[in-house]
Amino acid sequence: MTLADLKQGQRAVVERVQAQGILGQRLLDLGLVPGTPVQAQFVGRGGSPVAYYVRGSLLALRRTTAAQVVVTKEEDWQ
């Protein structure tokens, strides 16, 4: 499951960032490191972009970018 699969209001925990290079770096720098709780809050028309709560801030990602972040449902995260 990735961030792109979250429906409005759903929460999850980041497992890893798949993207390499600058994009991967940037996502990590924004705080999407393993173990970070996230919540999909606002979904744009047609499902992209989506705004997520990450560490107290609101970040909007295009669907293709969100699909690069692998997440786990909150209850399954150890």
Binding site: D29, F42, S57
Partner: protein, 615 residues
């Protein structure tokens, strides 16, 4: 004891870093490029307790990894310029991410003060922070501030001066990390610290921002709300600019008479007096009178919306369409800026990191009409609308035509962007992450001053540079005669075949050419040509204007083609100069050719179709 020092401000975007900078330095600041870098640095200074501090505001950044120009500039500046100390401006409502940057800065230098800003917002969100504990965990001075209210700034200045003078001895606890593992490790440490220091609700789901976003970011209401706002801003600009424009024109009229008397007294001959007064001076003051008031209204309004936090929301709502056009989501912002002034829209394209997508934004900006072109659309729009459908009231016709023009211009932006990204500017769509910061009450006073200094004056200055020589040229063309007719008439005759094919005439095309300094001057020049007057003049009454145009063979088709060409032709000289500065001469040429060819094609096509259909 040191009596001066170099201080730099670093921090994430949207932490109120600029507010801290403005509060520290007041208006004693200027922008400049650091040698060899494209990113602009703001510099200023303040004096406190006998110590003069130079302050450099580094661009907002999320890390020091040199993956973007902002990150590279920040890191290189810290390494090479060796400032006396770094103030890391942290967001109290988003502490972990700010600490992630602070911990990276601490790996480069121990001379760091953490300015814990936005304490007022943290209080509003019922977050409780413990600055003393934070100081202990980091081993560096921590100063809580609410820069917008001026809270804590004296303490910040005290700390800065004390550290420059060696009275504070930071002993930071650095985190050692491997290059590849940096972010997770640093964030783990940031989380640890935040857990000790911050108490309160994690997500601001019940905040004012969240409630407003539920409306503004909603698929149903988002776009209607934005369109209403755009219409309101443009209406305020147009409606508010009329009176000050007239006042300015009157004042410049007095100035013209005074200048004329002065030159006469000094014994200037007529052949020198007339081009100076009626050409140079009148051309220059005309452009200032028509451009200054709308800009002085539009830019502050735009900056207010920017400060409120609306612009990233606009980008959010329009992103899907820009994505389809292969363009960057932030192009929505440069386009919105373009409605006020295309030159400012071109400058705004700096927010787009990828050079390819920045060029798309720059080259297509002129496809949306700036407020210099709205009067053309309104005046001639009323004529075209009521000419094509005589039952229509004039005002309604103007609104319909202008509304349609706006929609067409936005569609043209998507279409031409798509064209560019499919041909000469092909490439991967770069990712972008859009931060949606909380809505904030704009600082009205600072907005007025900064938007005037940064945007209005900058744009006006470039306009003035071109207006004076063009005014002179226009005067020469109308007043130098060869045989029976003026040079102007000969030129119009030469352009006539092309003009007629486009459903216009030679004089209209010539007016657009001579209107290069500012689109506002196109109609006055056109009237000057039609009436064979020898200096710029303005007809106040719309009906009289329409009479003149009709007498010169205008039909509703002429009016419609005029509107199309007014929307799609070369950018004004100010915009061209700006494109040249931002992207280079070759791209400025393309920025002129692209909309011109597009507009010509539309006019030729429309005229052909209508003539076939009517005949």
């Amino acid at each position: 004891m040191k009596t001066s020092g170099l201080v730099v401000l670093a921090g994430n975007p949207n932490t109120g870093k600029s507010t801290v900078f403005n509060a520290l330095t007041g208006l004693k600041q200027h922008t400049g490029n650091w040698p060899g870098k494209t990113v602009e640095l703001k510099k200023g200074s303040f004096r406190h307790q006998g110590c003069t501090c130079q302050v450099v505001d580094l661009p907002g950044t999320y890390s020091l990894r040199a993956a973007s120009p902002e990150e590279e500039t920040t890191r290189d500046f810290l390494r090479l310029e060796k400032p006396d100390l770094v103030v890391v401006v942290a967001d109290a409502t988003c502490l972990e991410r700010s600490l992630h940057l602070a911990l990276q800065v601490l790996q480069l230098t121990p001379q760091v003060i953490l300015c814990l800003n936005l304490m007022d917002e943290a209080r509003r969100r019922r977050l409780r922070l413990d600055p003393a504990k934070l100081e202990q965990e980091l081993g560096i001075p921590v100063v809580p501030t609410a820069a917008v209210r001026g809270e804590g700034l004296d303490m910040l200045k005290d700390a800065i001066v004390q550290m420059i003078q060696g009275q504070l001895h930071p002993q930071p606890q650095t985190v050692s990390v491997q290059e590849g593992e940096a972010a997770p490790v640093l964030y783990r440490r940031a989380e640890e610290i935040a857990q000790l220091v911050v108490q309160g609700p994690r997500e601001p789901t019940a905040s004012f921002t969240a409630r407003l976003d539920a409306l503004i970011l909603s698929p149903r209401w988002g776009i209607p709300i934005m369109l209403t706002l755009l219409a309101a801003v443009l209406w305020l600009t147009m409606a508010g600019a009329g009176y000050p424009s007239r006042l300015l024109a009157e004042a410049f009229g007095c100035g013209e008479r005074a200048l004329s008397r002065l030159l006469t007294t000094l014994g200037f001959p007529l052949w020198l007096h007339d081009p100076l007064v009626f050409g140079l001076y009148r051309g220059l003051t005309w452009v200032v009178a028509v451009m200054l008031p709308p800009m002085a209204i539009f830019f502050p309004l735009f900056t207010l919306l920017e400060d409120f936090g609306l612009l990233p929301r606009i980008a959010f709502n329009l992103d899907r369409m820009f994505q389809r056009a292969g363009a960057h989501g932030k192009q929505a912002l440069t386009m919105a800026m373009g409605f006020g002034c295309n030159a400012a829209g071109v400058v705004a394209a700096r927010i787009i990191d990828s050079p390819r997508e920045r060029l798309v934004a720059i080259l297509t900006n002129n496809l949306v009409p700036c407020n210099g072109r709205f009067p053309l659309l309104i005046i001639v729009g009323a004529m075209a609308g009521s000419g094509a459908v005589p039952q229509l009231p004039r005002a309604l016709a103007a609104v319909l035509v202008v509304g349609a023009a706006l929609v067409v211009s936005v569609l043209a932006t998507f279409l031409v962007s798509r064209l560019l990204t499919a041909t000469i500017l092909r490439g991967e769509t770069s990712f972008f992450v859009l931060e949606l910061p909380p809505y904030r009450v704009p600082q009205v006073g600072a907005v007025l001053v900064r938007s005037f200094l940064d945007r209005t004056l900058a744009v006006l200055w470039r306009a003035v540079l071109v207006a004076a020589p063009c005014g002179l040229l226009t005067w020469i063309l109308t007043n130098v005669h060869m045989g029976e007719a003026s040079l102007l008439a000969y030129l119009a005759q030469a352009l006539a075949p092309l003009g007629r094919a486009m459903g216009l005439d030679g004089m209209i095309l010539l007016a657009f050419v001579l209107g290069l300094p500012a689109n506002e001057t196109v109609l006055p020049i056109l009237l000057m040509g039609y009436l064979s007057a020898n200096a710029l003049l303005e007809v106040q009454d719309a009906a009289a204007l329409q009479g003149i145009l009709l007498a010169n063979g205008w039909t509703w088709l002429t009016a419609l083609n005029f509107i199309i060409f007014a929307m799609f032709h070369w950018p004004c000289a100010t915009t061209l100069l700006t494109v040249k500065k931002e992207a280079g001469g070759r791209w400025a040429l393309l920025a002129a050719l692209l909309p011109t060819l597009w507009g010509m094609a539309l006019c030729l096509l429309l005229t052909k179709i209508v003539k076939l259909w009517v005949m």
